[in-house]
């Protein structure tokens, strides 16, 4: 079961003078659910297209299941894609769309019928088999696209923002279903999204991309709790970033000077006088009206500038004395008795901060 399924080695892709994917190396295990996450235009689709065989890498190698594939055309690779735009065949019914891959591979008729029906059942669209794509809703089309790819039982399934067109509720439901399907079938998924919540809930591992670079690869918890770059810290979830210079360091802590204030942070592999950024999640910080006398806490003061109601929690925005804004999360039913303009203190445990240098 285990072993490498996809190996990307120093992939580079250029369109004209623009480098869209830069020196991307990544190993994906068999049966793994790997998500490529990143903002629009960062090269996610291009990376998938190189794996599928629609684009030739400018340099670098791709290995699928132990085999170099640079000389295999797209139709020869045991990989299927769920396209960002679905790309369902408009002249074929849902059934014929799903059967397409099996028919071109000359699978016996009876087996086709069985597998297509199973696939349609899997996406709960058995009753829509005879409809043409333009008679299906966006969500139904998306599910047909998934069934059309899955029915071929590929070694790797590439999904390019397959849930992009769905409303929040259906999206959540499909996330669960897809994840379930993937576990059940044991197919390797390479899933592309720019929705960080989706990435966190579904993936075994996440690769965060930015401007063609793969910034960090890790489990959702690693990515969320120990971002290795400023970009990752800022892109995954909400984060407060404090920029400063390392003043002193010992084996446990760093003392970083941020806008004239000394901020304690967990020890990291940095030198004195190096510029660093400390990332603190909103939910890791606490607000208080009184200064704390606990020497161990990091403490900054500022003024409450805005409160944004978000249901169970409230985002409270504090303007620090340095002028920087800081977002804290409060429980809506336990709000601090403070009004806009009031002076207050933001506090956190030094080891809840994450030090990043890039």
């Amino acid at each position: 079961m285990s072993g490498l399924m996809v190996k990307l080695q120093h992939l580079v892709k250029q369109f004209g003078t623009q480098t869209v994917v830069q020196d991307l190396s990544l190993d994906i295990e068999k049966g793994e659910f790997l998500t490529l996450l990143g903002p629009s235009g960062c090269g996610k689709t291009t990376t998938l297209r190189m794996i599928a065989g629609f684009e030739q890498p400018t340099s670098g190698e791709i290995m699928l299941d132990g085999q170099y594939v640079h000389n295999l055309a797209a139709y020869q690779r045991d990989v299927n894609t769920v396209f960002q735009s679905y790309a369902l065949f408009p002249h074929l019914t849902a059934y014929d769309n799903v059967a397409f891959g099996l028919r071109v591979k000359k699978v016996p008729k009876q087996e086709i019928e069985k597998r297509v029906k199973d696939a349609l059942r899997l996406v709960q669209l058995e009753d829509y088999a005879r409809r043409k794509p333009d008679q299906l809703s966006g969500g139904q089309r998306q599910r047909i696209a998934i069934a059309r790819a899955l029915v071929n039982n590929p070694k790797v399934l590439l999904l390019d923002e397959p849930l992009g067109a769905l409303d929040q509720k259906l999206r959540k439901q499909m996330q669960v279903e897809l994840k379930h399907l993937q576990k059940q079938l044991g197919i390797t998924f390479v899933f592309v999204t720019h929705d960080q919540e989706e990435a966190l809930t579904m993936s075994d591992r996440i690769g965060v991309m930015n401007q063609g670079f793969l910034e960090q690869v890790g489990t959702p918890a690693e990515i969320y709790e120990r971002p290795s770059t400023k970009f990752v810290a800022g892109f995954i979830g909400e984060t407060n970033l404090l920029h400063g210079t390392v003043r002193t360091r010992d084996h446990q802590h760093l003392l970083v000077e941020c806008e004239g204030v000394q901020v304690k942070a967990p020890s990291a592999n940095v030198a004195e006088n190096e510029s660093v950024t400390i990332a603190i999640r909103p939910e890791k910080s606490v607000l208080s009206l009184e200064p704390s006398h606990n020497e161990q806490l990091v403490q900054l003061n500022g003024r409450l500038t805005e409160r944004i109601y978000c249901g169970g929690s409230t985002r409270t925005i504090v303007t620090l004395h340095s002028g920087q804004t800081f977002v804290a999360l409060e429980k809506t039913d336990q709000l601090l008795p403070a009004a806009v303009g009031d002076e207050l203190f933001v506090q956190w445990q030094p080891n809840h901060g994450v030090v990043v240098t890039r």
């Binding site: 797209a74 139709y75 299927n80 396209f83 790309a87 369902l88 002249h91 397409f100 591979k105 790819a149």
Partner: protein, 304 residues
């Protein structure tokens, strides 16, 4: 309580929509008038004239005269003329087929070439139309005749010893017709191939289809509207074109178009020429009806 409100809403909407439709109809009517007048003057009136003439008799001086008669039509029901129609249809069919086989790759290459070249390539297809088609036909004659360019060239190369007879036979007519009609095939084909989404071809490849399977299962079905439209645009004019068979076929091949021309200009039998025209017209309408039926059926199926 609630239901009446709910019932009212669509009714109101319907009223509004019909109102809107009336307004739009007025607007349409005004823009349609000039076209309508144009059609009456240049199309309907001549048609009526031809239709009327077809019931007169030929006068002794080559004009038309009484009595009114159906004889012009009954004369047409003769194996001789059926054969003319049959040969015309066969030749038009081959013309269409050749245009399709030649035009499809043509249109495909143009539609899939980089955007900046596409307009130039399309222009190259259309440019020959700016010269008179008669002149272009003569150009072909210069190429094909016994001491023409092709024969001279082949003789000089020593590939042949006797000049080939390339002109004044059915294949010469076919070459002429295909050459003249090709753009009518290429343009609708181009339009439908250009509309074809690249992602669909990629999806087909992705699902394991070899190039010819992609062509057969995706490209061809999705471009049939262009194929049908192009075929109609080639087939029907090919039936009536008379100068190409005249010039390139010698007097050997008589087609329906030549027959009609001969009645008007050579035999000076206007009534019989008119009757033949009307019959060709009816034939054409039948083909158009078949075309509409096929395209409607396709749409209909897509809705099931």
């Amino acid at each position: 309580m609630n239901p009446p409100v709910l019932d009212n809403a669509p009714a109101n909407q319907l009223q509004n929509e019909t109102k809107l439709k009336h307004q739009i109809d007025y607007g349409k009517a005004w823009t349609i008038w000039p076209v309508f007048i144009w059609m009456v003057l240049l199309f309907l009136l001549p048609m009526i004239l031809v239709f009327a003439v077809s019931f007169f008799s030929r006068s002794s001086f080559g004009g038309i005269g009484f009595p009114l008669t159906l004889e012009n039509y009954s004369r047409f029901f003769d194996p001789l003329y059926f054969k003319i129609i049959w040969i015309s249809c066969v030749l038009a069919f081959y013309t269409t087929l050749c245009c399709l086989v030649l035009g499809y790759p043509f249109a495909y290459i143009i539609a899939r070439s980089p955007t900046q070249y596409r307009n130039i390539l399309l222009l190259l297809i259309i440019v020959p139309f700016w010269t008179n088609s008669l002149i272009r036909t003569y150009a072909w004659i210069v190429l094909l005749r016994t001491e023409g360019v092709i024969n001279t060239f082949l003789l000089q190369l020593g590939l042949i010893e006797q000049p080939l007879s390339l002109l004044y036979n059915e294949s010469a007519v076919l070459i002429g017709l295909v050459y003249t009609m090709l753009p009518f095939m290429v343009l609708p084909l181009y339009a439908s191939i250009e509309k074809l989404e690249r992602s669909l071809l990629e999806a087909s490849k992705d699902l394991g289809a070899k190039p010819w399977q992609t062509f057969w299962r995706v490209t061809l079905p999705l471009t049939t509207p262009g194929i049908l439209a192009g075929s109609l645009l080639v087939f029907i004019p090919s039936l009536g074109l008379f100068f190409i068979p005249d010039l390139m076929g010698g007097s050997k091949t008589i087609l329906i178009g030549n027959h009609i021309k001969n009645q008007f200009l050579t035999a000076r039998d206007w009534p019989f020429g008119s009757a033949s025209s009307i019959i060709l017209m009816i034939l054409t309408l039948v083909f158009i009806a078949v075309y509409i039926k096929i395209t409607k059926d396709k749409q209909g199926k897509e809705l099931v």
